[in-house]
Symmetry: C2
Subunit: 239 residues, 2 copies
DNA sequence: CGCCTCATTGACCTAGTTCAATTTGGGTGG
DNA sequence: CCACCCAAATTGAACTAGGTCAATGAGGCG
């Protein structure tokens, strides 16, 4: 059930079988959410973190004008709100885009894990720092890249992340968002998002159809996006 | 010397005199940088974190087209690269905008502090999570707010942060950036940044002149920016 | 004084928005 | 199986925020 999480740990850290066992034992209840549900809502005090094991979720903030900014997409294997452990409450919403299943990890259990082996603190802190790194890359995306490059960059990022947890099929992957939601992540209107997708298709770089991304020319797409995967910290490292 | 850091801890956590002493004892060498210097450069392996005690610094990434995206400004009292402690290397540059003075806190000493009192881990992790929260708010800024609101939002954020460390003078504060740099943070060209500043001035909301921001009508500016300071996590809380 | 960098302004251009209409495709009831 | 429905995708045309290019102005400093 938490296989995908284990994968995301192991690409980055040495992780003993013993600690893997400890972690498995601490995982709590499973909860299901329907598409559109709030998994965590802004400002609420939180006593557990949610590991996404199935579905697509996102972090977002609403603006007063009724628009919404999506700040990160979450795929199975991601803790969607691990930062609630140090922060205790969140500054934004986490919502289910498709039906989602999460497993709880209570903050008290995180405390225990860290007490048992301080390396757990490193691992969890590291995860939250990867999210921050992704945020920074998205800032570059929104602030400094052209429309077409923004879409390309997002597709590249998702491909790399999805591969780690075994959800890629070659250079294609499921990405069950509407064009409205895609626009909310990229800072564009749905109309313009649609035109950018058409341009990607016309240039034979990537196709987004039926909630699925197919990348036709990954090298060219990365070139267009100036994609450098380093910010995802996917390399195996000492830990 | 680290008074401002202590302030930023104390607005958020209970912090004992004993721990304050421990922290003071661990602070390392002081280093000075000239305006424009890189304090930390992308990809470098890092063994200490830098506490900014004087000057203005920023986190940024360069794009291949030669433009630059600024992702956060740092004022005295901020650790500019505390995330290098869990990450060990950084995905972006940290540079001195004005002459800067930093004090080193070696990662080995952070280890020791945490070993002495686990609450240090919470405090440091918390700091890095506030940076992430700021990143998310900036994502909303770049992705979903109008030009004028973006500038307004940045000015509001800086006022609130600068107040904590005693660097505000009423509703004014020093902000020694050029309009080019301001544009690099907001995702605008210098020309357009200039026009937005003129509009803020014309509407009697705020003035940016001689490297100083003067806010004339804070309530109206916050309203325009949809500024909600919660994301800065400045309220005093249990820790 | 004379640079030199930065701020300011104008005129024109383009990426992205807005509004509105049309098409597509999956699901559902008969 | 088909007719219908509804949400989402697609396209067009007109509009606007922001970019580009280029010239001018203003302050700081050797």
């Amino acid at each position: 059930m938490i296989e995908k999480l284990i994968e995301t740990i192991k690409v980055r850290h040495h992780f003993s079988a013993e600690n893997e066992g400890l972690l498995r034992d601490r995982m709590g209840e499973t909860v299901d959410f329907a598409a559109g549900d709030l998994i965590v809502s802004e400002g609420r005090r939180i006593t557990y973190s949610s590991l996404l094991i199935d579905g697509l979720a996102c972090r977002s903030k609403d603006t007063r004008q009724g628009s919404r900014q999506i700040m990160e997409f979450h795929i199975p294997g991601d803790f969607v709100d691990l930062h609630s452990y140090p922060l205790e409450s969140l500054d934004h919403d986490i919502s289910a885009i498709t039906p989602c299943r999460i497993v709880k990890l209570h903050h008290a259990d995180i405390d225990e894990l860290i007490e048992r082996d301080i390396r757990f603190a490193r691992i969890f802190w590291f995860f939250t720092m990867v999210d921050a790194s992704v945020h920074r890359e998205w800032l570059v995306n929104l602030g400094a890249r052209s429309g077409i490059a923004r879409v390309a960059h997002l597709f590249c990022e998702l491909l790399y992340r999805v591969r780690v947890v075994g959800l890629a099929e070659g250079t294609g992957f499921a990405f069950p968002v509407s064009q409205v939601e895609l626009g909310e992540a990229l800072g564009f209107t749905p109309v313009h998002t649609n035109r950018l997708l058409r341009e990607l298709r016309d240039r034979d770089l990537a196709t987004f159809r039926a909630k699925t991304v197919h990348i036709h020319d990954l090298a060219a797409l990365e070139e267009l996006a100036e994609f450098e995967p380093g910010y995802l910290y996917l390399g195996r490292r000492a830990g």
